[in-house]
Amino acid sequence: MTDKKERIDIHAYLAEFDDIPGTRVFTAQRARKGYWLNQFAMSLMKEENRSRFLADEKAYLDEWELTDAAKAAVLARDYNAMIDEGGNIYFLSKLFSTDKKSFQFAAGSMTGMSQEEYAEMMLKGGRSPQGQRSIKGGY
């Protein structure tokens, strides 16, 4: 057996996540905050729910225990704001799929770049990790 175990300090482990630029790691804290937002998104896996949602988005959102900020973020399709409310991109993918949009559309919409600029960046090899690894370290 080569199962060498290393004990990890949970507080140090979680604290490091805040040091990554432009990234919100889906921690238990975010998962708890976004529980109903993510469950709402899951409900869009059923065609009848997608139809009902698209017919009257506000009314559909009112059926869920969502904060006003979460509802506003969904209505505005502001994915950064949804993630701030505890949304996770794989759950939120049910929302942009309902809108017939792709992962590249959704990801690009969070960068402040236009869709064309974002697609062009990916064609050129993507965003460089240089300077994007650590806020404190600046590397």
């Binding site: 990890i8 432009g22 998962a31 969070m110 960046m121 990916m122």
Partner: protein, 288 residues
Amino acid sequence: MARVTAGITSSHIPALGAAIQTGTLHNDYWGPVFDGYEPIKAWVREPGNMPDVVILVYNDHASAFDMNIIPTFAIGCAEVFKPADEGWGPRPVPDVIGHPDLAWHIAQSLILDEFDMTIINEMDVDHGLTVPLSMMFGRVEQWPCRVIPLAVNVVTYPPPSGNRCWALGEAIGRAVASFPEDISVQMWGTGGMSHQLQGPRAGLINAAWDNMFLDGLIGESDHLRRIPHIEYLRETGSEGIEMVMWLIMRGALGPATRLLHRHYHVPCSNTAIGHIVLEPIAPSSIGA
């Protein structure tokens, strides 16, 4: 006795499924992605290379599991798994036929080996599982082998450590070796490589790191198992963590591997695509 005959990794991006469905897989954008799979699509159809069973390590993308239940490691023991409706209707691909005898044998063996698995009897499978099957087998009426889904939580933190994944792979290797039927089993690890789908840092790609990781899967070294989560996050984007699943594949191949095929390409939508095929070898045959 059953044996693990090869390990394969593949990205599982939903856009690949869409390209197959819309017939755009030979255009300038998708052509280089799909061309890199051609040698292995041919290889797997050669006599002796088609496995009886694939143990397919993947992550469910909020399809079978929602926020209600979050299993770290779950094994699918059903007879059949249907493609999930992820918001645009189920992918038009065949049902996935399981291997309940082997799956239950592995589940029992793992639990006795101190890996406390979640056992799943009813589950729809999403693009994480069916896109790699399409990439390897193309458009088919039915999949050419049976598939045991092994779902890993890489969405809600913390996911399992790389070391734990590698050790689970080793335990799966032992479990397969003690299954009394003479069948061949491939281990597939899916997802990756560098990609970030959220926030202002979306679009991050790290080709140098990805290739370091691919190098580390080949040969005798097991240093990849000690990479901490924070390194995946910093170097490969928030979704690059999926690569811990590849370590389950690598662990199951045993102490040493030989490279059969390697393919790396950027971009595939938001993602660096990595596809590697390995076979297990005796450690002593390295460098011979």
